[in-house]
Amino acid sequence: MTDSWTLVADCALVTDSVRSKDTITAENISKTYAEVKAVSDLSFEAKPGEIFGLIGPNGAGKTTTIRMMMNIIAPDSGRILFDGRPLAEADKNKIGYLPEERGLYRKAKLGEVLEYLAAIKGARPQDFRPAIDGWLERFGLSEWKNRKVSDLSKGMAQKAQFIAALAHNPSLVFFDEPFSGLDPLAQDEMLAVMAELKEKGATVLFSTHIMEHAEKICGRILLLNKGRAVLNGPLADIKARYGRNAVQIEFDGDASFVKKLEFVNSVVEYPRWIEVELRQGIDSDELLKAVVGKLKVRRFEVVMPSLHKIFVGLVGNEGLGSNGGASYGQV
C-alpha cells in the first residue's frame, strides 16, 4: 500500500495479508441491540508483536466489539477469524482478558481464584502455579495469596485482575480500559508488562477512551465512534497525515484570545495548556509573536495534533458521544 494508514470508509475489508499465527481479524462485524446499532460493519486486524488500540468515547461500541472478539456474544453479521480460521470456543484458552468492569470472587482466597481462572482457561497446574507465584511476586502481592479477595485494596484487586488475565500465558490479550482507577506508579507497571508482552510476540489489544494512553503505547489504532470506524491504521502514519501546523503551548495567564486570532483554525483549550491548529500556510512564528507578552509561556512546541484533535476534526464535537465524550488523563 502506498498509504499505510487508511480511512476505514475506503477499506471495507481487511487486507488479505498473510494471516500468521495468533492474528485476530474482524471482518465486517455488526451488532444491533433492540433498535440500537452498537457496532456497524467493522473490520480490523491485530497481529502478534503489536499493541493495537481500540479507541473511542464511551458508548462508541468498544465493549461490544471486544465481547464479539472474545466470542462472548456473536456478531449479527460478519465474522471473527483467529489464526486465519473462524474463532472457536477452544481459542478462548489462548486469550487473556482484562474486562473494563473488574470483579473477582470476593469471598474466595486470592490464590484460589487465580488458579481457578487459569484452570478454566485449560492451563495445566504445573504451568499456571509458578506463573501465578511469579506475577504475585512481581506485583508485591505474594503475602496476599492466602487472604480473601475482599481484603485487597482497590489497587491490589486491579493488579490481581491483571494477573488473572495473564496467568495462563495467553498469546492474545485484551485489555479493556486497563488504567482506569490505577495510580501513576501502577500504570507504569502495567505499561511495562504490556510492552514486555509485545516484545515476546503476543498480540495485545487495548481499548481506552483516554486518547493519550493510546498515543503512548499503540502501534496501530482503530478509532471508533457510534459503532463505526473513523480511522484505522498505524498511529505514526495517521499523525503524519494530520500533523500539520499544530502548536502546543503551556502557560500561565488567560489564553482565551488565541482562538480569536484570525490565522488560528481551531483550539483545544485547558486552563494551563492549549493546542492550536494554524491555518494553511501560517508559520508558527506568527503565533509565538502573538502570545509573547500576553501569556507567560512555559513551553512552546510545534507538534503533530493529538489523537483527540484528529478525532474531533473528523467527526466534530457531537461525535464525542452522550457520556461526556473522550476525556484526557495522564499516563
Binding site: 465481547r67 462472548i72 474486562p99 470483579g103 470472587y105 470476593r106 484452570a119 478454566i120 485484551f174
Partner: protein, 411 residues
C-alpha cells in the same frame, strides 16, 4: 466439558464452606430426631421436660386424692393436700406449686371442681385432673346407687379399638395413635427439609448468578467458558453439595437408628426407612434441578438481589402451597386435589413424597409424576439457559417481560 469440572468444583467448595450449609448439615438430623422422636418420648413420659412442681388439692376425699395421684404419677407430679386455699393460691402464683385443684363442698353433685393455675393454659395437666375426677365421680355415683364394685368395674371397662393400615400385596399393619403422630411428624420433617433445601439451594444459585453479574466476574468467566457451561457448572456444583448433605443425613439417620437409638430405648419412626430416605433424595434432586434452573434464569434476568427476590415470589408460592396443605396431605392423600398437585411438576416433589410416606400411590401416578418432573427439568434448563445467555450480560436496568421473552426467542 472439562472446564465444567473446575466450575463444579469451585461452586461446590464455595457452598460447602458456607456456614449455613455446615449448620444445616449438622443440625438437620437432630431436627429429624428431635421432632420425630419427641412424640415417642412424650408418650413414654408426658411430664418429661416439664418442671414438675406438686399440685395442691383442696377438699378432695382420700379416694379422689389417690385417683389424682395415680393420674399424675405418670408425669412425675406429686399431689399435695392443702388446708388453705389462699396460701395455695399464693404458692401457685409464686411458682412453688404447679397448680391448685379445689373441690367445692358437695362435689361432685353439689359443688364444682376449680383449677387454678398461673397460665390457665396447662391443658395436659388439667385434662388429666378432669379425667381422673370424672372417673372418680362416676365410680362413686355407681357405688352410691348400690351396684356391686365388680359389676361397676365391668361396666366401666374400656373397649379395644385398633387402626389397621392396608399395604399393597395384602399386608396389614396395625397403627397406634402414636404411630400416626410419628408419621405426621415424619411427613412434616421430610417436607420441611425438602422445602428448605430446594428453596435454599435455589436462592443460592440465584444469588450466585446475580453476584457474578453485578460484580462483573461473569465477563471473565465468559471469556473462558460458554454461558451454558457456567450455568450448568453452578447448578451441578450446588447439586453436589446437596447430595453430600443428604448423604450425611442418611448416614446419621442410619447410625442413630442402629447404634444410638437402642442405647436410649428409642427407635426412629418406621417412616424414616432407607427406602423413604432414597425417595427424599430423588425428589430433592428433581426439585432442586427444576428450581435451581428457574432461579438461574431469574438471577440472570434480575438487576440485583432485591429484584431477584421480587421475581422469585411466584416460584416460592408453589413450594409453600404443599406446606399449607400438610393436614390434607396426611389425612386425604388420595383426594383429587392432592393427586393433581402430586403430578404437577412445581408442587410434585413435596406432595408426592408426602403421599409416599402416608399411603401407597398407584404406580401410574408415581411414573407420571417422575416423567413429568424429568421433562419439566429439561424444559426449564433449556429455557433458563436461553435467558441466562443474554441476561447475564445485561446490566443497569430491570428488563421487562417482553424483553425476556425476546431473549428466549434469540437464536
Amino acid at each position: 466439558m472439562v472446564k465444567s469440572k473446575y466450575i463444579i468444583r469451585h461452586e461446590f467448595r464455595l457452598t460447602a464452606a458456607n456456614k449455613t450449609f455446615v449448620v444445616l448439615t449438622i443440625l438437620g438430623p437432630f431436627l429429624i430426631f428431635a421432632v420425630t422422636a419427641l412424640p415417642t418420648l412424650l408418650a413414654a413420659s408426658p411430664g418429661a421436660g416439664i418442671k414438675s412442681n406438686p399440685i395442691a388439692v383442696y377438699g378432695a376425699p382420700k379416694a379422689v386424692q389417690e385417683a389424682l395421684q395415680t393420674a399424675f404419677s405418670g408425669m412425675n407430679i406429686q399431689i399435695e393436700p392443702v388446708d388453705s386455699v389462699e396460701r395455695a393460691k399464693e404458692g401457685t402464683l409464686s411458682g412453688e406449686l404447679g397448680a391448685l385443684l379445689v373441690l367445692e363442698a358437695g362435689w361432685p353433685d353439689g359443688g364444682k371442681a376449680l383449677w387454678f393455675s398461673k397460665t390457665g393454659a396447662d391443658v395436659a395437666l388439667y385434662g388429666a385432673a378432669k379425667a381422673a375426677l370424672e372417673s372418680s365421680a362416676r365410680s362413686e355415683r355407681i357405688r352410691a346407687s348400690g351396684v356391686q364394685p365388680e359389676v361397676a368395674d365391668r361396666l366401666l371397662a374400656p373397649t379395644d379399638f385398633d387402626v389397621v393400615k392396608l399395604e399393597p400385596h395384602g399386608e396389614e399393619k396395625a397403627i397406634s395413635d402414636q404411630a400416626f403422630l410419628e408419621t405426621l411428624m415424619t411427613v412434616l420433617v421430610f417436607i420441611m427439609l425438602l422445602y428448605m433445601t430446594i428453596l435454599l439451594y435455589g436462592q443460592m444459585i440465584g444469588r450466585s448468578v446475580v453476584t457474578e453479574k453485578t460484580s462483573k466476574t461473569v465477563e471473565i468467566m465468559l471469556s473462558s467458558v460458554t454461558s451454558r457451561e457456567l450455568m450448568m457448572g453452578k447448578i451441578a456444583g450446588l447439586g453436589l453439595a446437596g447430595i453430600l448433605q443428604y448423604a450425611v443425613w442418611t448416614l446419621m439417620a442410619f447410625l442413630l437408628n442402629r447404634y444410638i437409638g437402642p442405647l436410649f430405648g428409642l427407635a426412629l419412626p418406621a417412616a424414616i426407612s432407607m427406602q423413604n430416605m432414597g425417595w427424599l433424595l430423588v425428589f430433592f434432586l428433581l426439585g432442586f434441578f427444576l428450581y435451581a434452573s428457574a432461579y438461574a434464569g431469574l438471577g440472570a434476568a434480575s438487576e440485583d438481589e432485591q429484584n431477584l427476590g421480587q421475581l422469585a415470589w411466584p416460584l416460592i408460592i408453589f413450594l409453600i402451597v404443599p406446606l399449607v396443605m400438610l393436614n390434607t396431605l396426611v389425612t386425604s392423600p388420595d383426594s383429587t386435589l392432592v393427586v393433581v398437585l402430586s403430578i404437577f411438576p412445581l408442587t410434585s416433589p413435596i406432595v408426592m413424597l408426602a403421599r409416599i410416606l402416608v399411603s401407597s400411590p398407584p404406580f401410574w401416578q408415581l411414573a407420571l409424576c417422575l416423567s413429568l418432573l424429568v421433562v419439566a427439568v429439561v424444559g426449564m434448563m433449556i429455557l433458563a439457559a436461553k435467558i441466562f445467555r443474554v441476561g447475564i450480560l445485561m446490566t443497569g436496568k430491570r428488563p421487562k417481560l417482553q424483553e425476556v421473552l425476546r431473549w428466549i426467542r434469540v437464536e
